[in-house]
């Protein structure tokens, strides 16, 4: 897994790590049961403080993206077990709101936005 961080982007490093792991999982580049680098190894790889990686891993674990086996490494979890659909939608709502605001600003129709979203979903492939 090739992660990278950009400190001049203004996005906190732990969020960048979280987003990239989620993307790799959604796109099928990381599959259920695949091992991730340990906190220490990934910190050295990215030249970031180990606490930053630990924080990203904690958040990913809380969201059910990865699971940590005590003393045995970190793995991609089974697909979001036990998460209610309403909870999944709740997490997505802020992004949907932003998409709505930006598309209104740009005077794009609902169909345009839907098509765009469709294309991005197709781009991830694996999920269909």
């Amino acid at each position: 897994m090739l992660l990278h961080v950009n400190t001049s982007s203004g996005v906190p490093v732990y969020l960048q790590i979280e987003a990239q792991v989620k993307h790799a999982v959604a796109a099928g580049a990381l599959k259920q049961g695949d091992a991730l680098l340990s906190v220490r190894k990934l910190a050295a790889e990215l030249r970031v403080n180990p606490n930053t990686v630990a924080r990203a891993y904690q958040n990913l674990e809380r969201e059910g993206v990865i699971r940590t086996v005590p003393g045995g490494g970190t793995y991609v979890a089974d697909n979001q077990p036990g998460l209610l659909k309403s909870e999944k939608l709740r997490r997505l709502r802020p992004l949907a709101r932003q998409l709505a605001v930006e598309s209104t600003q740009l005077r794009l129709s609902a169909e345009d936005v839907a098509r765009l979203l469709e294309e991005e979903l197709d781009g991830l492939g694996g999920r269909r």
Binding site: G10, V13, V48, N49
Partner: protein, 307 residues
């Protein structure tokens, strides 16, 4: 074993012309990667010299690895790896000779690491130090500090003189071989994006005084820049206000916590709140040490108590 790697209480160093360090209260937890930031001449190097017993304090006290700096400086030097800003060593010795010379002083010296770093850093072993490039001198200084099995590394401008490839390599080595093993790193740097990646604590010093000491996480979570517009707003004072700047009708406030409450107060005074945004380390540094109006330095020092 004490929980803090470095702590000081009112540490002061007065030179004939200047109060270089002026009542410094530092707290560097064990295992932290602590970025010690300040403008040129702010007192960073004098602080380090005083902590290591290389300069005698004019007042106050400090402990490094639990040892009083006034009496324990030999033991401190044995357990602390130090790279000075100037990177000066014996000119007539080669890196191989410098290693042989240094290893005898440090019971926990690692020959394996020395060999590893000689190779990784591509250091010419048999050219005398005086004939090495600035980059290679810097690398030799790091090698000597990193191999002595230190519990604490004090690095003054560690990456100055290193090319981007070697800077990257040094960062990797620091994390992989030292931070991951629990070594405390206390370093000065002007490269704030570098600091933001590797550090988990920062201290900002200006004119010998510590203006802010906090977890970097605290800045990400709670520090906010509030931009408002409004006429005839009173000058604000609050313990969470770090700095403020005014330009005609626009006002910008950097607060260390409770940004929403602060914004509500501004609204109550007739201001229109335009934006409440997260800040990066550079903005905090400029807000405190830069030419903006700093307000009540010292009051923000209390923020680390909440971390």
């Amino acid at each position: 074993m004490s929980e803090t790697a470095i702590s000081s209480q009112g540490l002061t160093k007065i030179y004939p012309q200047v109060r270089a360090v002026d009542g410094l209260n530092l707290n560097v937890p064990r295992g932290a990667v602590y970025g010690f930031l300040g403008r040129n001449g702010a007192g960073k190097t004098t602080t380090i010299k005083t902590l290591l017993g290389l300069a005698r304090p004019s007042g106050g006290t400090a402990q490094v690895l639990g040892l009083d700096i006034r009496v324990g400086h030999l033991a401190i030097l044995e357990r602390t790896g130090f790279v000075s800003e100037t990177k000066v060593l014996f000119e007539s010795l080669t890196p191989a000779q410098l290693i042989r010379f240094n290893r005898g002083y440090f019971p926990k010296w690692s020959d394996a690491l020395a060999e590893r770093y000689l190779k990784l850093f591509e250091i010419p072993r048999d050219r005398t130090f005086g004939k090495l490039s600035l980059g290679n001198r810097t690398k030799v200084c790091h090698l000597l500090a990193l191999c002595q099995g230190a519990e604490l590394l004090i690095l003054d401008e560690p990456t100055s003189g290193l090319d981007p490839v070697m800077t990257d390599l040094l960062m990797r080595i620091l994390i992989e071989d030292h931070v991951n093993e629990g070594t405390t790193v206390f370093f000065c740097s002007h490269h704030l994006s570098e600091v933001e990646k590797i550090a988990d604590w920062i201290g900002i010093i200006e004119a010998g005084k510590l203006l802010l000491e906090t977890r970097l996480e605290e800045i990400r979570q709670n520090f906010r820049l509030i931009t408002v517009s409004g006429d005839a707003l009173p000058v604000m004072a609050a313990p969470n206000l770090v700095s403020q700047r005014r330009a005609e009708r626009f006002h910008r406030f950097l607060v260390s916590h409770e940004a929403e409450e602060f914004a509500a107060r501004l609204r109550g005074q007739g201001a229109t709140v335009l934006e409440i945004s997260p800040v990066n380390l550079g903005e905090v540094f400029l807000g405190l040490a830069g030419k903006e109006l700093p307000c009540m330095p010292g009051s923000v020092g209390a923020t680390h108590a909440t971390a």
